[in-house]
């Protein structure tokens, strides 16, 4: 079965939602996750810390260069990722739509190469 990466996208300058709203979103996302697990499509996933906590690693001929911060400086950021199994893009879009309703953000749907096996 093909694997898809669902990325939660949000503007880099977005403010954290009000506590009440955040609580509601977390509850909706939890319910979405339960539904995806229940239909047997869940592979792996979770929220990510802020991009400022990232470290970029590059190995050049054995010399490792570390950079503090994300590799891609972008106006949009990825707040979390989920890997799902779906029969085809329509099924993946169906789950992404439900996730977008829960997170209230855009969701990028991207297929893995060779069904995720290599």
């Amino acid at each position: 079965m093909p694997l898809y990466l669902l990325s939660v996208c949000y503007p880099a300058d977005a403010q954290q939602p009000e506590p009440e709203r955040l609580q509601r979103i977390m509850a909706d996302v939890g319910a979405w996750r339960d539904a995806v697990v229940a239909r047997g499509s869940w592979v792996f996933g979770g929220g990510l810390h802020d991009p400022s906590t990232a470290t970029t690693v590059l190995d050049r001929d054995g010399e490792v260069l570390l950079t503090d911060g994300p590799f891609i400086e972008a106006k949009e950021q990825i707040g979390g990722i989920t890997v799902i199994e779906a029969a085809d893009l329509d099924e993946a879009i169906e789950m992404a739509s439900a996730q977008s309703r829960a997170t209230t953000t855009p969701i990028e749907v991207r297929p893995f190469m060779h069904g995720g096996t290599g």
Binding site: P2, A86, A87, D88, L89, D90, A92, I93, V109, R110, P111, M113
Partner: protein, 408 residues
């Protein structure tokens, strides 16, 4: 037909290509599960037809011959290229005893292919290109000329779209009932986009050797044939037929634009009008109105009038009211205002036009200018024509507006 002259056989190949390319690709896509492989196989089959039909004659069932040959070529190709186990397996599934020439599945195959090509995960430009390539059977260079882009650009667009279909797993099937209305809308809008491209282009210089409006009508007929119970598919076909019926009357001998009220209605194509009106009547009986059907009904009211003065503007206005309730938009409100001007007079119409958020749309200023001229406000009318001319990118239209301005 053995011994047919080579030129006759070549013309037969060309005709079968036009009529059956999409059908063959659709069937092979089902058998192979891959659009790209299907296309290669069908192209191989047409190359084989060009080589053998002039020598052996045209087969009794040319379309069936193409599908069978394409299937055999695909098996050959897969065996030849099967470096991976997967390809071996694919070649085996092709040998399964399934008749590729059956009529029932073939019909469904084409519908599946249409929905695949018009999948909303593809950009509208990619949907249009794929549909013209896969369903209408146009060559890439023809499509490129129609859309005024280099052939390499169009080829890349098509390759990219095909890659996405394969990589992202865009399914090859008719959507579920729940998704069908949305997905059908996407298919219809692709066909209407093709039609409008052909319609606009035909007012300017001649573009390419493919007639996009004609292709769109062909696609529209195919959709009605494949989905006879979808009123909006029929509404779109009716709208295109009725619009196309006026083509000859739409420009004068010098190629200048002629407005609907000024057209010589004896130059309208009576056969297209009759066909379009028949579809409109079918839609009315069905009683499930939608945006294309109502637009077609408006076109049909105009087609009913022998002269512009005979136009039943009250009915046109009632239909625009209905259209505004189904699919409200400022552009439709602008067209409705024109009908208001005919039924209730230019002052009422001007009030409605001035309330529309379309300051950058040249037709708003053109309509406004006409209304102002009718009200005798000539300086304001001229200023509005100037605004319209500054906003249009089409030379024929600018010339037309200049003529109106001179008479205002």
């Amino acid at each position: 037909m053995s011994g047919a002259p080579a030129s006759v056989a070549a013309a037969d190949v060309e005709r079968v290509f036009r009529d059956d390319y999409g059908r063959a690709v659709a069937t092979l896509t089902r058998l192979l599960g891959d659009l790209g492989l299907a296309e290669e196989a069908v192209q191989d089959a047409f190359a084989a037809a060009l080589a053998t039909w002039p020598r052996d004659g045209v087969p009794a069932n040319p379309a069936g011959w193409i599908v069978t040959t394409a299937r055999n070529r695909a098996i050959d190709r897969l065996r030849r290229e099967s470096t991976r186990q997967q390809r071996h397996e694919q070649a085996w599934t092709l040998n399964a005893p399934e008749d590729a020439q059956e009529v029932g599945p073939v019909r469904d195959d084409r519908l599946r292919l249409i929905f695949t090509c018009c999948h909303p995960a593809l950009s509208p430009a990619a949907q249009v290109a794929l549909t013209l390539r896969m369903i209408a059977g146009l060559r890439t260079d023809q499509i490129a000329r129609c859309f005024l882009v280099p052939e390499t650009t169009m080829a890349q667009r098509i390759v990219r779209a095909k890659n996405k279909i394969a990589a992202a797993g865009i399914p090859y099937r008719v959507p579920r009932d729940a998704d069908l209305p949305d997905r059908l809308r996407s298919v219809l809008s692709v066909v209407y986009l093709v039609f409008n491209e052909g319609y606009v282009a035909s007012t300017g210089e001649a573009l390419g050797d493919a007639d996009l409006a004609g292709e769109a009508i062909r696609l529209g007929r195919l959709l009605v044939d494949l989905m006879p119970d979808e009123p909006e598919a029929r509404g779109l076909l009716a709208l295109m037929l009725l619009t196309e019926s006026r083509r000859a009357a739409r420009t004068d001998d010098d190629g200048a634009l002629v407005r609907l009220p000024d057209q010589d209605r004896t130059r309208w194509d009576a056969a297209l009008v009759a066909e379009g009106q028949e579809h409109v009547r079918w839609c009315l009986r069905r009683g499930r109105p939608g945006s294309y059907q109502v637009q077609a009904a408006i076109a049909a009211v105009h087609s009913d009038a022998d002269t512009a003065a005979d136009t039943d503007w009250r009915q046109v206005l009632a239909l625009y009211d209905q259209l505004m309730s189904i699919a409200p938009s400022p552009v439709i409100a602008l067209n409705r205002a024109v009908a208001v001007g005919e039924v209730h007079g230019p002052a009422d119409a001007l009030r409605e036009v001035d309330a529309l958020p379309l300051a950058d749309y040249h037709l708003l200023h053109a309509v406004r200018a006409d209304l102002l001229a009718r009200l005798g406000r000539r300086d304001e009318a001229r200023a509005a024509y100037d605004a319209a001319m500054a906003l249009t990118g089409n030379a024929a239209e600018r010339e037309f507006l200049a003529g109106r301005r001179a008479r205002a």
